[in-house]
Amino acid sequence: MIGVLNKLLKRSRRGKDGSIVLDSARKVTGGKTRTRVVMTMAVFLGIYVAITGRLVWFGFQGPTDSGPPPSRVTASRPDIVDRNGEVLATDIKTSSLFAEPRHIVDADEAIEKLATVLPEIDYEQTYKKLKSGAGFVWLQRQLTPKQQSEIMQLGVPGIGFRTEKRRFYPAGETASYIVGLTNIDNQGISGMEKYIDDQGLADLQLSGLAVAKDLKPVKLSIDLRVQHIVRNVVAEAMEKYHAIAAGGVVLNIKTGEVVAMASVPDFDPNNPYNAQDKDRLNRMSAGLYEMGSTFKSFTTAMALDSGKVTMESKFDASRPITIGRQTIRDFHGKGRVLSVPEVFIYSSNIGSAKEADVVGIEGHREFLHRLGVLEKMKTELPEVAKPTEPKVWKKVHSITAAFGHGVSTTPLQTAVGCAALMNGGFLIEPTFLTRSADQAMEVAKRVVSEKTVEGMRYLYTLNAEKGSGKNARVPGYRVGGKTGTAEKVVNGRYSKDVRFNAFVAAFPMDDPQYIVLTIIDEPKPEMPGRGATAGSNAAPMVANIIRRAAPMLGVKPDFGQENAATLVSY
């Protein structure tokens, strides 16, 4: 080819010299060859330009809208287990089936094949979906791995799977308030789930280091069995007494561990559509109440601890106390002089007010703070309310606080305060994580003396034997406790008919291990004519919990000491 070109060039050069030019030979072939070459080049160039142009055009074109939506990066979370290792919350991988209708060859065949694995599939709807010509449709969410592998075996073209991580709560509503919830991005938004995030998991997830395998399960102090019993008893009671809410807590007084805590109404964490409702509130730690007569435990303990009052001290409860516009009366008035145990078991408001009077206003306030009843509780659970108290304590406040009115606190804190009066005088912050008794003693603060504790144990036992706590007794388990029937404020006045009842119990009384506290909000009498005081609803709740849960808590029944309280002489 190069030779031909040279010849051509030579010929033309020669022509310019003025020598003889044989033009015709060139004209016969050369001219045509030239145009052919040019044409061929043009055609090829055209083809390449078209290809390049098309490529550029494709490059600018976005990908067609087929395939699933971009995958959400769901972060791994550690499992949450109870004290016995039972799963309370776990991550499970689920796969969802999608189809790309454009790639479906035969919609009828595809549906028929899928129906062998998914019998509940809707033929008509699925057919419409597959014929819609859309880029992407979901066919079935959350398949089991077995179904997934079976569908894969079918070999239907145009369908695929997308795995999603989902938080699953096997216990459902049983421990909903304690375990809490996660949002769609698997971040904790309430309960212990939020606590775990605040402990650094959130940062770990952000940095992408939260690998499922490295996350150790978080062990809670909750015992799922006891938790179920408490939730069950509380839910039954709410229905039985037509109350607006109820709750219960079981607290280990030696370690401060919350073994069970339930509040109804609650929600199902697997389907928390109503979790944000107004009445869905963990009343045990986030509800503030005037705890009523259960506060008399604190008043009596304070009076005994001050050393100014002994068990033999007498208080005149024959006349109501009038202070300002308020008159303090007794619910079960005896109209006579009462000893300290009598003030306690007859739940005398007048007697309690006089006990508080002995200690003084500032002393009273200081004591309640010392017991942590009026401080904001420090615990793992994020939903904790701050107790309220009068800004300036006057005499009337001290008097009303003596029987649990005028100051409001959370039921859990009341239980913790009572635990301090039972466990030897140590205030131990409650925890939802496991803790041994030794670890608890490191954080414990002594708040009352050994002698006061002894007296309080005696009074609790006595009250269950002879006083308002009779309904809380469980044969064999030596229960002692104190009722609390508080009148609720309706339109700025204390109402006679709307009540908030509580019962705080400790057992077994010869060596208290657990505090059980139940609350019930606005109970109605079980049957017309019956009372709706704490003794007739909150106390039986405690009894039901202890009867069923005590064997699981490892408390040994003992019938030998059934009448110990009457025999003990203080």
Partner: protein, 180 residues
């Protein structure tokens, strides 16, 4: 043209290439196997997680309570009463088991009549022996003494035999009961 060393070097080169190829290929095969196993492990792990969740769902106290309520008639389960829980040291002491008691309890069918007879004979022999111990001069008693001599051990053995028989019988009764 080719020297021997060249031929050797070429051979070495070829074999080295072949070896490299083989190793590479083997490694690829192994790699595929590893990927496969890893995928399998992942699926298994996911499955374990799922089964764990399933297990805790099935053993939920609330579910068990619902079931026991539903099948109350058939199961007859009740909440354990405090009186049903007893410590070991609170159990009344069991009177020591004697061979006569077992035999009296078992009655005729369980125990071999012959054996019973022989045991009582044995017992009789023992008493004889204690008597004869006082007067060892009577030579005709000798064989009886010889039989009676290993008595304590023999009695234990017999007792344990009888006990075995008794437990067998209990097992039988249980099986019978199950059949009914």
């Amino acid at each position: 043209m080719f020297r021997t060393s060249d031929i050797i070097l070429i051979a070495v080169m070829v074999s080295a290439a072949a070896m490299t190829y083989k190793i590479k290929r083997d490694a690829e095969v192994q790699q595929t196997a590893v990927y496969k196993i890893q995928a399998q492990i992942r699926t298994e792990e996911d499955q374990i997680d799922l089964l764990k969740a399933d297990w805790s769902l099935l053993t939920q106290p609330s579910r068990l309570q619902r079931l026991s309520d539903l099948y109350k008639d058939q199961l007859g389960l009740q909440t354990a009463d405090a009186r049903q829980i007893v410590r070991l040291d609170e159990l009344p002491e069991k009177p020591p088991l004697t061979i006569e008691d077992i035999m009296a309890d078992n009655g005729a069918p369980g125990v071999d009549k012959e054996k019973t007879a022989s045991i009582s004979k044995d017992k009789a022999a023992t008493t004889d022996r204690s008597k004869s111990a006082n007067k060892p001069k009577s030579g005709d008693k000798r064989p009886v003494v010889a039989i009676a001599k290993p008595k304590p051990a023999a009695k234990d053995k017999l007792a344990s035999n009888a006990r075995v028989a008794a437990t067998d019988k209990i097992a039988e009764q249980i099986e019978d009961g199950a059949d009914e």
